[in-house]
Symmetry: C2
Subunit: 229 residues, 2 copies
Amino acid sequence: MSTPFTLLFALYPGVTQLDFTAPHQVFSHWPAAAVHVASLEGAPVSASGLHFDRLEALETVARCDLLCLPGGPGCTDAMLDARFMAEIRRLAAGAHYITSVCTGSLILGAAGLLQGRRATCHWSMLESLSLFGAVPRAERVVRDVHVITGAGVTAGIDFALTVVAEVSGERAAQAIQLGLEYAPAPPFDAGHPATAPAAVMRDVRERQAAFRTRRLAQVATAAAALKAR
Amino acid sequence: MSTPFTLLFALYPGVTQLDFTAPHQVFSHWPAAAVHVASLEGAPVSASGLHFDRLEALETVARCDLLCLPGGPGCTDAMLDARFMAEIRRLAAGAHYITSVCTGSLILGAAGLLQGRRATCHWSMLESLSLFGAVPRAERVVRDVHVITGAGVTAGIDFALTVVAEVSGERAAQAIQLGLEYAPAPPFDAGHPATAPAAVMRDVRERQAAFRTRRLAQVATAAAALKAR
């Protein structure tokens, strides 16, 4: 492991910003860490009206200790982008930890990095992980040797604290948790299909329906391409 | 209330990015909302290595339904910036809701917007609210009529879901919570001084000590200025 411990978030168009901004905030309070954020050619990335500028170019990042793929509506387009995926494979080959938040694990899967590995994902796409040879687990944070994956969006906080504890110990992680006042108190218990009211589940499924059909087709294409490699 | 419901995050140098990126993510999934992000003159804002570009100029925002002040290490500099504070007072005068996350409530306080109001803040600065005539409350989200404040950093998620439920009802908020898989599972119970191990509390206090001294002096200056208005 190098000093500092270098972490890299690999962004792409259509990323969900909280998937990386939340763990980025955790890691930015970690004295031992150097956090990098990169995209293909360092192109700026926009996400729901926030615009991220001055990104590094993935092509110029020699290596990192931890590679993190955030998820988002654009994740299936990203996994079909040969240049992006070549950079992900190259950086993963040199990393100690290969990680993701939300549907970022589908990108890891499409890159062939999850074969035989237990991993998690946003609940809505969890089962798709098996198309890439991964073993889907409906847990908040899943660790399988050097692969650490977080569930949907907000799981990125739990994921990041788990990473800090793994590398620098519990006390370091707890100090960051206290600094970020991470003592969550959701006003409702609706954050998971197991607890959400049926009507709310229906609303979300309906809103996602058209998008989901396209997404599943892209996952199937990526899975076929992986098998053919 | 206008349609769409317009929300404005007012940024400044030294803001903590998760204080606004987390509620921004919640609000961006809210069909009834239009979310704006602005700074003085629309100047880009950097936070711990993330660079936010293409911001609106506070001066050009005519009004908003909800004004939100995120917190951060720069909050006390911001409250001593006369131009910034003039914009905050102007926008607050036209808003239905005046809100904050973390130490953003100190800015509201310095603007004279919390006199006699119950409000919360990051635990480390909570008591300072009383210097601005507010009534500090050690709660995750505090509502006092049109003033809604969230506690430290990650409380921004709980704050934002509370706002959505208030304006559009519980079902709308729960659908967003499910979409963001907000079923938090912190790996440790160290997110608040009441539960953090003593050694961790000491680590955080020690790290903050020098910064805290300067910050408290700035709060005192802002409080004196408010009294003299």
